[in-house]
């Protein structure tokens, strides 16, 4: 599991990874963060609760957040949302209480959304406590890492 690398030099894009490592596919964000760190790309780990996310991105203009999502898509699907438009929001369907979608909308409501914010959501299927990450999600992590690494200018 990657250490919080927020003490590294601030990158052009701030990458934030969320998740619950005890909940199987909810580890997706953390796995992606570990892979990105191996590529020399700094990632900030965040619990995923709205206040923590809003604090994490408060000083950045260009932000990517990686997290596991549940939208009904096929497990492992990587979806990218641009937060300049309202997110499809379900009430508290999050491992983090007031979660990522709420964080974005709350930030929008009080005027502290980053100028550019994208969410890379990896569709999960299994959230059993202590369970293993599904093969589909591992593949989704690879895809997400590839896309983010390309944006950050490093190969996968």
């Amino acid at each position: 599991m990657p250490q919080d690398s927020s003490t590294k030099k601030t990158p052009a894009v701030l990458i934030i990874a969320c998740g619950n490592p005890n909940r199987a596919d909810d580890t997706a964000g953390m796995l992606a963060a570990a892979r990105l760190c191996e590529l020399g790309i700094a990632v900030r780990i965040c619990g995923g609760g709205a206040p923590d996310l809003m604090e994490a991105w408060s000083a950045a203009d260009n932000v990517i957040v990686i997290d596991c999502v549940v939208t009904g898509a096929a497990p492992g699907t990587v979806q990218i949302w641009d937060a300049s438009r309202p997110l499809p929001l379900q009430r508290s369907s999050s491992t983090h209480g007031i979660g990522l979608a709420e964080a974005v909308e709350l930030a929008r409501a009080i005027g502290c959304l980053p100028a550019r914010l994208r969410i890379y959501g990896i569709e999960g299927k299994n959230f059993e406590v202590g369970g293993a990450v599904s093969a589909e999600v591992k593949e989704g992590v690879s895809k997400a890492v590839g896309k983010i690494a390309a944006e950050a200018g490093k190969g996968n």
Partner: protein
């Protein structure tokens, strides 16, 4: 309105609680025939994780049980293990642990009061709706939480899964300068907390009073956080080591989590209301006066006034943190030497949501043989069901949708933290 008819109240999503579960209420007219709070809590997974591990790993493992209150789990763990090993900690370390806990209380209570609970009282579906009209309120909450985070990060080494707490003390303690760097923020937080007490006193509260058995820690000299006897307003007064003699955990068919009862009696309530009612005299003057000015004095038996009590506890946490920082002298060593030995130890500390019980048995090599953890929210489960049995009956004449929403709000008074799980609480009220 259904009047004398029967109906089911079902809420697919109970928002703004930390965790996962479902509430089902079955009614015939104004008679509630069934209430089931289904908690999908991890079935003792962490107790299993702990078995076979060295006791020194317990703080790190238990911190992962809950992302909102990791310090509570760490504190109950270290105190229980220290009891098992016969360890006495440095008085300065004892104060640092209280400071650590204050940080968590500030974070947790600020989040709950403003972002989870306040929308209910102001008529909003959620904090996002509320933020559009009350931006200043949300910004205050975020700043309060950030100040709590600063304490936790400084004491714990990082915000998420703090790493500094250890059996015997801490791996590293802050300097006086580092702590004094928190003072300006804490003074702001204290004023904001006093404002919070005043603001919550303007809210409208449903008329819902119950005869609770309140259970909390009580310490002779302070508002208890990590030490004390376990007391209740029904005569309980025990050492934490006697907890399992006086409290039982029951398996219920409809819930993954166990229900706790006082043996021979029944449900009980832990958390801010219990602490306030049992320890009002131990609050610092500033907090006691703020409560009095808000016409809030024990016994508080209206569940919905828990938002006021959390505000008073915010004041306490800020006052206590400032006091500890003002008097701080670093310990000669961040932790005492700890040796392996056989032992059994129990401890109870006051998580933001109520008492958190840990028991560990360790062998001669320091390996955890057995572990038992009873979180506050699981202790409140039966009481939540009892409350809803009464409250849903009062709502018999309300339209189904509104009654359902009201029941969700009642559950939120408990600030339930259902093991930081996925998803959400589903509430189903069935009116036949």
């Amino acid at each position: 309105m259904s009047g004398r008819g029967t109906r089911t109240i079902k809420v697919d999503t109970l928002a703004r609680v930390e965790g996962e579960g479902e509430l089902y209420i079955k009614m015939a007219g104004d008679r509630v025939s069934d209430v089931k709070l289904r908690i999908y809590e991890p079935p003792r997974m962490f107790e299993a994780f702990l078995r076979g591990r060295h006791f020194s790993e317990a703080p790190d493992i238990t911190a992962r049980i809950c992302g909102i209150c990791p310090i509570a789990y760490q504190m109950s763990a270290v105190h229980a293990i220290e009891r098992a090993l016969g360890i006495k900690i440095d008085p300065a370390v004892r104060l640092l642990r209280r400071l650590f806990y204050c940080g968590e209380w500030i974070e947790s209570h600020a989040l709950h009061v403003y972002m989870l609970h306040a929308p209910d009282f102001l008529g909003y579906q959620d904090v996002i709706e509320m933020a559009r009209d009350h931006r200043d309120v949300v910004e205050k909450a975020l700043r309060l939480k950030k100040i709590g985070n600063r304490i936790v990060q400084l004491m714990g080494g990082r915000e998420i899964h703090p790493i500094s707490a250890a059996v015997g003390g801490f791996y590293k303690v802050p300097s006086r300068i580092q702590l004094r760097d928190l003072v300006v923020d804490l003074q702001w937080a204290l004023n904001a907390s006093l404002d919070t007490v005043r603001w919550t006193s303007t809210l409208q509260f449903p008329d819902f009073e119950q005869d609770y058995e309140f259970v909390a820690l009580r310490h002779p000299a302070e508002y208890a956080l990590c030490e004390g006897r376990l007391v209740s307003n029904h005569g309980l007064d025990i050492d934490p080591a006697e907890y399992e003699d006086r409290f039982a955990e029951l398996h219920v068919k409809h819930s993954n989590a166990l229900h706790s009862i006082v043996r021979g009696r029944g449900s009980y309530l832990v958390g801010p209301l219990a602490r306030f009612n049992l320890n009002f005299d131990k609050l610092p003057d500033t907090a006691r006066q703020a409560a009095t000015d808000a016409k809030l004095r024990p016994p508080v038996t209206n569940l919905f006034r828990s938002i006021q009590v959390r505000a008073v506890e915010l004041v306490f946490a800020c006052v206590e943190a400032l006091r500890i920082i003002a008097d701080y002298e670093p310990p000669s060593s961040p932790r005492v030497d700890v040796s392996n030995r056989t032992g059994v130890g129990q401890a109870i500390t006051e998580a933001p949501r109520g008492i958190l019980y840990h028991r560990y048995a360790v062998d001669e090599k320091g390996i955890i043989v057995t572990a038992k953890i009873v979180p506050p929210t699981s202790q409140n489960q039966r009481r939540i069901e009892d409350d809803l049995r009464e409250y849903a009956a009062q709502l018999a004449a309300w339209p189904l949708e509104e009654a359902t929403w009201k029941c969700e709000q009642a559950v939120r008074c408990y600030d339930p933290c259902i093991s930081c799980a996925t998803h959400f609480l589903k509430v189903v009220i069935h009116r036949e």
